[in-house]
């Protein structure tokens, strides 16, 4: 279920009322069940993928840390896997006749329910084999065992992610290469539906095992605690990609919900909805008109489309993050900040410290630094940056435009670092005019980068840049205007962002006096009501 739906509102109210009435341990178990219900609303069978990831990494991390798992833990993991397989691959929940089966018909093309039984028996058999072989596994030397289970964990996760997200992309590209050699490749394209949020929870679970391996984290020995870390409903669909180091202690320790947390939560939820409902949904049609055009758009169409998409993607994704973080606050959890006024960045380095922080810091810690980071020869660090941004682009989607977008940012970062290493612009200018110019300049570069991200083909990227460069000054606007709510909301949004940036990210209630900030809140509520007539769209990052 999406945050911007009545179903979620009902789910949240019921879940919150029950949650507040329960003791700590029961709260965790209840949150886990609620999270599975939340996630299973799309398709119950995808819950099994999370269970597999949970059991795999729970086991691997314990073996990596302790060298063994207890018989009780083994039994728990095994029964969890088998019961999970039965509950979500065999049981036909859709027959209950509620929303859980919404994508049933689409998924039906992937495998039939009879296939569910076959998969169930395979999983039960594999679980049995693993248990039988456990005695032999435990005899392996500790260091070797640690490495083996790290590899098992990472490759297992990447295999699931690779199959569901990248299989068709790689098969498609291999087919192109084979065709270019004059051969006729076999069509191996599969009708695979991407499990929502898979990129997010796969990265969370991988960071857990790696942190345990690196000795930065002591794994939990309770399966439900780990399962909750992975499946906690506000963050499972589109992050933030929370690290276990920050989140597990919050699950384990008793939580106290302060009035400040409630206020902060409500503030973030309100601002998140404002960004999503008023701005992102309000400009969505105009953006689709430009990027979905089958004719050559005018110069002003392209400019408007690019600019509005720049706002749309930020408001859509950061809006989701705000609602997720705010909702978590109401439950007593603190999730990491995911956006920090990215469009006020003056260079790529600053931008990536402000945009999708949980992802960029993940790639920094688990890809960039292991590759060697910013050290060594120029060739090495340029290679490291480009490789990191190549996978950052690929993470967003199995398509060349995302890879190009990643590389575009990688190249910008390389240029920036070269400039820095040559001593150009070492000291930050305090001159406000220069500051504004550099913010605007980088904003334009970022916006141009979104063309690569939003376009559906390389041909379209070429066409849009051609219009930008060679049709300069064609001011005939053909596309639909944004909604009234968006037009009224955009100036308010810019003002709020500016206040936030100038106060170093402080909440409005910490910066503005009561009378002023409540006026802003009232304006946001009013605009949300106006924006509710907009066509609601799915959050953009749900497809990643």
């Amino acid at each position: 279920m999406a945050f911007n739906s009545i179903v979620f509102l009902s789910f949240f109210l019921v879940a919150y009322a029950i949650y507040r009435a329960l003791p700590h341990k029961a709260q965790n178990i209840f949150l886990l069940i609620a999270s599975y219900v939340f996630y299973g609303w799309w398709d119950t069978r995808f819950i099994f993928l999370i269970i597999i990831a949970t059991c795999l990494d729970f086991t691997c991390s314990l073996i990596i840390h302790n060298g063994y798992i207890t018989q009780r833990q083994r039994l728990t993991v095994s029964s969890w896997t088998v019961i999970g397989a039965f509950s979500f691959l065999v049981v036909q929940w859709y027959k209950l006749g509620h929303g859980l089966h919404r994508s049933q018909s689409a998924l039906g093309q992937l495998f039939s329910w009879r296939m569910g039984w076959i998969l169930f028996f395979i999983i039960a058999f594999l679980t049995l084999i693993m248990n039988l072989f456990y005695a032999k596994i435990s005899l392996i030397e500790m260091q070797k065992k640690r490495k083996i289970f790290l590899i098992v964990s990472i490759s297992g996760n990447l295999a699931i992610l690779g199959f569901f997200k990248y299989f068709n992309f790689f098969i498609g590209n291999i087919a192109v290469v084979i065709r270019s050699l004059g051969l006729n490749p076999v069509n191996l394209h599969l009708n695979i539906l991407l499990p929502i949020g898979i990129s997010f929870y796969t990265f969370m679970t991988m960071s857990y095992t790696i942190d345990v391996y690196r000795g930065r984290l002591i794994p939990t020995n309770k399966l439900y605690e780990y399962a909750l870390y992975l499946a906690f409903f506000p963050k499972i669909l589109a992050g933030p990609i929370e690290r276990a180091v920050n989140f597990l202690p919050q699950i384990i320790e008793k939580r106290k919900i302060s009035s400040d947390q409630i206020m902060s939560g409500l503030h973030q939820i309100l601002y998140g909805f404002f960004k999503k409902v008023v701005i992102a949904d309000g400009v969505a049609k105009t953006v689709s008109n430009v990027f979905g055009a089958t004719y050559q758009v005018s110069w002003i169409d392209a400019i408007v489309g690019i600019l509005l998409f720049t706002f749309q993607i930020y408001c859509d994704f950061s809006g989701y993050s705000d609602i997720a973080i705010g909702t978590a606050h109401l439950f007593g959890f603190d999730l990491m900040r995911n956006f920090h006024f990215p469009y006020f960045a003056r260079n790529p380095s600053e931008f990536w410290g402000r945009w999708h922080i949980s992802l960029s810091s993940w790639f920094r810690d688990y890809v960039f630094f292991p590759l060697g980071g910013p050290y060594g020869s120029a060739y090495r660090w340029i290679r490291n940056i480009l490789l990191t941004f190549f996978v950052t682009g690929l993470w967003h989607g199995a398509a060349w435009n995302y890879i190009l977008w990643g590389l575009y940012h990688g190249i910008m970062l390389c240029v920036h670092r070269v400039k820095e290493s040559l001593g150009i612009k070492k000291k930050r200018s305090k001159n406000p005019l220069k500051k504004i110019i550099s913010i605007l300049f980088f904003f334009i570069l970022t916006s141009l980068g979104w063309v690569l991200f939003r376009s559906h083909s390389l041909g379209q990227i070429k066409a849009i840049f051609k219009v930008l460069l060679f049709d300069f000054g064609d001011l005939k606007l053909n596309v639909t205007m944004p909604t009234h709510a968006a037009l009224l909301g955009l100036p308010l949004f810019v003002i709020i962002e500016f206040i936030g940036y100038n106060s170093h990210g402080k909440r409005l209630d910490k910066v503005l006096p009561m009378g002023v900030r409540t006026a802003v809140y009232a304006a946001m509520i009013f605009l949300i009501i106006l924006g509710m007539a907009n066509v609601p769209s799915t959050f953009i990052y749900f497809v990643f």
């Binding site: 979905g292 055009a293 004719y295 209630d509 409540t518 304006a523 009013f526 509710m532």
Partner: protein
Amino acid sequence: MNKKRKLYAPFVWICAYLVIIDIAINIIFSYPKDPRNITPSAMRQFFEYGRSIEGKFARMTRKDIDDSAPIVTAGWLVGSPKRLALKNLNRENSSIVTVYGMSHAGLLAEDMAKIDNSLTIRFMGAPGAVPTWSYAAYLFEKEKFHSDVVILGIMTSGVPLICTTSGATNHFDAVYPYTYPRFFLSNGTLKYTSPPFISFKDYIEYFYNSEKWKAYTKWLREHDKFFNAVLFRKTILDNSSIFRMLRRAYAYSMQRKKEAGVYDDTKGFNIESEEVKILQALVVEFSQNAKRHKSLPIIYIVNNVYMGDRLFRLLEPTLLYHNILFLSTHDICPPNDPRCYLPDSHFIPSKNLELANEMIKIIRADKNVDAKEKK
């Protein structure tokens, strides 16, 4: 400030501000009280969109037709003063072409009249007319008036509204009181039930008689798929601009939900829906009826902007199978090219002229029309 007060104070402030916003909008963007004022500013109209349907009727209707808003008189199947008869009506050798439909069809008729002086072009239309309105308009006058050519205008956005019965339920923002029958399929045959009133005169009688109006509302509830009491009933909440906006959001969400069962942006038309089945039967019956009455039937398919050529693709097999003449706009005005459309979704004048030319060519290709002209 104590803790509780600290927690509740912002909510009190927010409520107070919302009340101020509400009152301020009602004052600054107050809608003109005189129904004959048809040019209120865009923002005044915008904040009125969410008013209940009965509230909108009350605002635009007066017992005397001259005191009412002009749009109240539009679209009535009987006695509508807004019927357009263009040129040559009394010329003996002139073939009579009647166009039934929405404003797009009206603009086509106007341009056809400009291009071809020898034809008599008539137009019977209603704002946003759905296909059932157009067909009903044809049925209501086929016995009384003979046309050599009858053109039925159908547009993509009108198809999901086929099971509505009034301009009051089919477009929430701008409502019209005109009514039309509810068509349905019974054993594969197209039938209809007429609403309690189909003329402006009767509407006035119903509107100012609470019992009759109640009976009409009951009829709507039973026959109109888009009827919704929350949107229809006038309440005290009509006075709040915020509530009006909430009602509008609700109206949009209801409308989208209902339309989604018939048409989806990605999947196109649902051929299993009642509306699509009625449409298919309607075009066939229209053609058979027309041919029986010695008229040449033509279907004018208007593919709305950003809705692709789906309506054309939906109807093409039926039209070809039954040998029905048609003109689809998608070739001349590609639906994904907004340059062919005005901001109000009509075709730009040059494209409209091209479409009118094409229609004339189709008519002229018919031997009977040509023969009459040669006399």
